[in-house]
Amino acid sequence: MAARRALKAVLVDLSGTLHIEDAAVPGAQEALKRLRGASVIVRFVTNTTKESKQDLLERLRKLEFDISENEIFTSLTAARSLLEQKQVRPMLLVDDRALPDFKGIQTSDPNAVVIGLAPEHFHYQILNQAFRLLLDGAPLIAIHKARYYKRKDGLALGPGPFVTALEYATDTKATVVGKPEKTFFLEALRGTGCQPEEAVMIGDDCRDDVGGAQDVGMLGILVKTETRNVDGATIE
């Protein structure tokens, strides 16, 4: 068995690992302090389509976690990173609350499409506009492809079905950037200068956190949390 290289980066999942709703996971604050003492780069990673980094930072600071904004990496960050690499101007079909994470990216005369959980944008005219851009060669970036999510009035269509619709219409495939996709972990590590073999992911979801990380060559550590809303089909 090949020897592992020294650990240089640690990715830590947020919901279910560092905190559960508005309560810190017992022992998490101390664990983070110890991690800070080691010479590793730390990133706090999560799937989200409507919380900007600022929103997450505020919540974590209230729970007395010592975290800075540039240590947070979300599926929105992954999308932004991809847009910057491809040097494209996106049509953003995302929740308004996610827009701050795309500040500074040009959106006029779009030549790319980004889709998140944004029911207010999933009506015919807007999707048709997106369709025409894609047919002309624009790349399609999906924050995730959840089939549905839970609302007070029952189940509601997630972005997945609409991404599928556009893929079928244009005979192309979307790049999905949320966990457990490889893109997510690779983009999270991009800013650290570390290789996957030098990094570990700590999370509570066997498939999305540990499984996804292992698929790109990282080490994965599964934490067991007592209360979890388990519904494999839904991510918000």
């Binding site: 999707l127 025409r132 029952g154 005979d171």
Partner: protein
């Protein structure tokens, strides 16, 4: 290339697609495609039997024929094979009561259908009526059913209107399939039953018929799989890229 005469030997009947072949739909009743009015007249003046075989599901046959006649086409309702009537037949046979995810323009085709307490979903080219709310209603109906049935009037990816390319029913059908983990039943081209009923209507066998359409998959591919010959026109939604894809397949 073999002369046309050889390739079309023995043809007694012609199935004509409408959108993209006869006209492009759009504001103000749409626009006739250059030469199509005359072509239909010539076909009808010949000994060939003519049947219009369309997946049009945004408007009723009456409205469609009305628009085409105003553009100068020699066409009547009785000469059109369309998916809504075919779907109604199926709904009645199987005791199905649909949630209709459709455009109001085609609702009259479903007047005889019981839509109370739906036990299935019928999805057509709803256009602007493909709102998130309507899609979600259809999704919720399907998720409540022990035996979810989704009937789709065609599965085309897109079509051409005068203002540009428009998403057709296919992508929305795929959206519901993905959301619910089910497969839709397609009524209309390229389903073989649909072509067969059009052929029966003019009393012509498949090997004696040719289908003329702009959709390489729905019109041409579907017809060929039934044993018909097919001609692809370069109007309507035709794009060079799609021809290359089909050749590669």
């Amino acid at each position: 290339m073999a002369p046309w005469g050889e390739r079309l030997a023995g043809v007694r009947g012609v199935l004509l697609d409408i959108s993209g072949v006869l006209y492009d739909s759009g504001a103000g009743g749409g626009t006739a495609i250059t030469g199509s009015v005359e072509a239909v007249a010539r076909l009808k003046g010949s000994r060939l039997k003519v049947r219009f075989c369309t997946n049009e599901s945004q408007k009723s046959r009456a409205e469609l024929v009305g628009q085409l006649r105003r553009l100068g086409f020699d066409i009547s309702e009785g000469e059109v094979t369309a998916p809504a009537p075919a779907a109604c037949q199926i709904l009645k046979e199987r005791g199905l009561r649909p949630y209709l995810l459709i455009h109001d323009g085609v609702r009259s085709e479903f007047d005889q259908i019981d839509t109370s307490n739906p036990n299935c979903v019928v999805i057509a080219d709803a256009g602007e009526s493909f709102s998130y709310q309507n899609m979600n209603n259809a999704f919720q109906v399907l998720m409540e059913l022990e035996n979810p049935v989704l009937i789709s009037l065609g599965k085309g990816r897109y079509y051409k209107e005068t203002s540009g390319l428009m998403l057709d029913v296919g992508p929305y059908m795929k959206a519901l399939e993905y959301a619910c983990g089910i497969k839709a039943e397609v009524v209309g081209k390229p389903s073989p039953e649909f072509f067969k009923s059009a052929l029966q209507a003019i009393g012509v066998e498949a090997h004696q018929a040719v289908m003329i359409g702009d959709d390489i998959v729905g019109d041409v591919g579907g017809a060929q799989r039934c044993g018909m010959r097919a001609l692809q026109v370069r109007t309507g939604k035709f794009r060079l890229g799609t021809v290359a894809e089909c050749e590669a397949q």
